[in-house]
């Protein structure tokens, strides 16, 4: 039996470790997943959820969205992927919040959680809450909201722009039809004519000159930049309170990129909304964002105003990011890149995730996960360097250095 199991294994490659799953373990995982997923889905599909169950109170009324200890997991056949693992940050009214981090750190999953668009059934919000200040003055907890209520928020109050303009529009419907759909759905008493008028107006707003012609085109007849403009126009159609832009310019070339960013900033002011801007381009963040959230392996490791993060980054990872930015402080020919990789998302350690890549790693770092340290009301970072044992060790090191320097 044991021998048999050994032959049937599934390999999971991490960075420092490679795990093997036996057939029996795999079956156990699948069984558990089915049970967990069923429970989540049952919760979500309950009928007749009263509004009281998902009504809540904003911590700060000047915010549109408050993520509070959000956990979003994927229950896959090789184990639970903790894609978002305890994320808390706010999106203030009228501000642009930039979310940065390496590929796979959970930026998209965070934003999809806010839209209730995480790929079900394997993807589920396991814990935490997302408070949303709706246009009607009420405050909802999106994690508890029933699906049919969510439909009234999606596209109307929170709109989304995606990374890939080439594939984000339905290839078999004309631009006009896809745009009208949003207006017809969300604007009460909209007719075919009023919807068309609105769509044309929006196309005009995003700087499309021959809007009547584009309105009748199919997506494949437009360039990438044009399509992204259409996506933005579509997102604006119902005057959303919040626009989520998930790497809106990554797929575009540099000149178009600048135009699209300029456009986003302008429309934000016009509709007086907020933007959650996801990117891994620090240049974009520096140019656009008011606040910055730095994510690493499903957690926030540093957050603050754009000024604070760029002027005095605290977390070794953020410092590394700043160096890796072309034209950054370190004027090197070659791009600095942080060595090593993100840990295996299935087997997250219970100490600092950045430990294996950090130049400053200390004993304490591989023992417990660091707490959030406050540098200013906005500026927070999770790193042992700045408190407790780690800080002492750091100070000692500094003293030793000073002493040795003094001797010379």
């Amino acid at each position: 039996m044991g021998l048999f199991d050994r032959f049937k294994t599934k390999k999971i490659e991490g960075v420092d470790d490679t795990m093997y799953l036996t057939l029996r373990e795999e079956r156990r995982i699948t069984k558990e997943n089915t049970k967990i997923i069923k429970e989540f889905e049952r919760q979500k599909n309950r009928k007749h959820v009263t509004e009281a169950e998902y009504l809540t109170q904003m911590r700060d009324p000047s915010n549109v969205v408050e993520f509070d200890n959000l956990h979003t997991y994927f229950f896959t056949e090789v184990g639970t992927v903790k894609a978002v693992n305890g994320v808390s940050f706010d999106i203030p009214q009228g501000k642009i919040v930039g979310v940065v981090g390496e590929s796979g750190c959970g930026k998209s999953v965070t934003s999809l959680s806010l839209m209730q668009l995480v790929q079900a059934p394997q993807g589920q919000i396991a814990d935490g809450s997302i408070r949303y200040q709706a246009g009607n003055g009420k405050c909802y907890d999106i994690t508890k909201m029933p699906k049919d209520q969510m439909l009234k928020i999606r596209g109307k109050e929170i709109a989304m722009i995606f990374q890939e303009p080439m594939t984000s529009l339905n290839p078999v419907f004309r631009i006009g039809e896809q745009m009208d759909e949003v207006v017809l759905l969300h604007v009460e008493g909209a007719t075919a004519e009023s919807a068309k008028a609105r769509s044309i107006e929006m196309l005009n707003l995003v700087g499309i000159a021959d809007e009547e012609k584009i309105y009748k085109n199919y997506p494949h007849e437009l360039s990438g930049g044009m399509r992204q403009r259409v996506m933005i126009a579509m997102a604006l159609a119902c005057d959303p309170r919040l626009i989520i832009a998930d790497e809106p310019t990554t797929a575009l070339d540099v000149t178009i990129q600048a135009q699209i960013l300029e456009l986003l900033r302008n429309v934000k002011d016009k509709i007086n909304g907020s933007i959650m801007l996801i990117t891994h381009d620090l240049g974009v963040i520096a140019e656009m964002a008011d606040n910055v959230v730095v994510m690493y392996a499903g957690r926030i490791i540093e957050q603050g105003t754009v000024h604070e993060i760029f002027k005095e980054p605290k977390h070794p990872y953020t410092i590394g990011l700043m160096k890796s930015k072309p034209g950054g402080k370190l004027k090197e020919d070659r791009l600095y890149s942080i060595k090593g990789q993100v840990p295996n998302p299935i087997n997250m350690p219970d100490f600092c995730y950045f430990c294996n890549r950090c130049d400053h790693a200390m004993n304490i770092c591989s023992k417990e996960y660091p707490n959030m340290v406050k540098f200013s009301p906005d500026h927070l970072t999770a790193c042992h360097l700045y408190y407790g044992e780690g800080l002492q060790e750091q100070n000692q090191k500094r003293m030793q250095n000073n002493q040795s320097e003094g001797k010379e």
Binding site: R154, G155, A159, M160, S168, V182, L185
Partner: protein, 332 residues
């Protein structure tokens, strides 16, 4: 577009030529030809001599089995085929084209009805299975579809015949009409119902065999579409799951569906050889199987050319429909 179609047809003609030569060679090289089959009994009891047999073979053009002989007779066949004459069937004693045009219709009716059932059962099932992936419904439907596809047609036919005809006596066992009943000459409705009654089991067999494929094809394509970016966009707009599935996703799934299903249409005239034979239904498949067993070269050739043309037609229709349903496609 016209240029594309012309090129496609020219290519098809070339393929047809090659295929016909190959089939001709193979049937000529069959160990026992039509005359051997017909005369073996007479030869044995002495009522015919070997010489008579050879003379007959000469008459039928089957005497010279050398390579040059086969090539010569193939060229003769090709010439007459090019002028639209498929020759005279040995077995049925009539022009091949007449036999074809007489027997394809019943085959077409059976195949077409099962095609319709296949569509109206398979597509909704596939869509529902895909939009409820990993659900009980998805697993059940997939397992049944696989079972249907995996069953050999003669086995399923025999099973249904045993249960519904022999045990329960609900449906007739074989044939197209009840031989023991005599209908008045104006009893069209009764004759029609009688025939329809005979077709229930064959159509059930064909539908069961094919519906799984349609369902799987729909499910696979639907799943692919459902995971695409524009579906996420549609959801992000606030559209209900119904609209997302049946408008945005299904309209895209239709592209491969229409393309492949329309391409099947001409093939429906081709006949279902095994099922027709098991149920003794005088369709084109049944006739072709008999002709093949008997070594009826003109009929085999004619039938195979007919099938090849149907296939080519299917491909053309498929291409044209692709252009119709997908705004991105311009054939060139």
């Amino acid at each position: 577009m016209w240029k594309y179609l012309l090129r496609r047809i020219a290519l098809s003609l070339l393929i047809l030529l090659g295929v016909s030569a190959l089939i001709y060679l193979l049937v000529m090289l069959m160990p026992a030809d039509y005359i051997d089959n017909q005369t073996s009994a007479a030869l044995q009891n002495g009522s015919m001599t070997m010489e008579d047999v050879m003379r007959l073979k000469e008459l039928y053009g089957l005497a010279d089995k050398s390579f040059t002989g086969i090539a010569k007779s193939y060229i003769a066949w090709l010439k007459s085929t090019a002028s639209g004459d498929l020759g005279f069937s040995f077995m049925y004693g009539r022009p091949v084209t007449d036999v074809l045009s007489d027997y394809i219709w019943i085959s077409f009716i059976i195949a077409f009805l099962s095609y319709i059932f296949q569509i109206i059962i398979g597509i909704p099932m596939g869509v529902k299975a895909a939009s409820n992936q990993y659900s009980g419904y998805d697993y059940t439907v997939s397992v049944f579809a696989m079972m249907g596809t995996a069953l050999p047609s003669f086995f399923l036919s025999a099973l249904l015949m045993n249960v519904f005809s022999i045990q329960l006596g609900i449906f007739p066992l074989q044939g197209l009409v009840t031989a023991t009943r005599i209908f008045p000459s104006d009893a069209y409705i009764q004759v029609f119902l009688d025939k329809a009654w005979h077709l229930v089991l064959p159509i059930t067999v064909l539908t069961t065999l094919n519906v799984g494929g349609t369902m799987k094809f729909t499910r696979t394509n639907m799943l692919e579409v459902l995971s695409s970016d524009y579906i996420r966009t549609a959801r992000a707009k606030g559209l209900s799951e119904q609209v997302v599935t049946y408008k945005h996703a299904f309209r895209n799934t239709l592209i491969p569906l229409v393309t492949s299903l329309s391409g099947m249409l001409p093939g429906l005239f081709g006949g279902a050889m095994i099922t027709e034979t098991v149920f003794a239904i005088p369709g084109i498949g049944y006739m072709a199987l008999r002709a093949t067993r008997g070594g009826d070269i003109p009929f085999i050739m004619g039938y195979n050319m007919f099938l090849a043309i149907l296939t080519v037609l299917g491909m053309l229709i498929s291409d044209i429909m692709y252009m119709v349903v997908d705004p991105r496609v311009k054939l060139s």
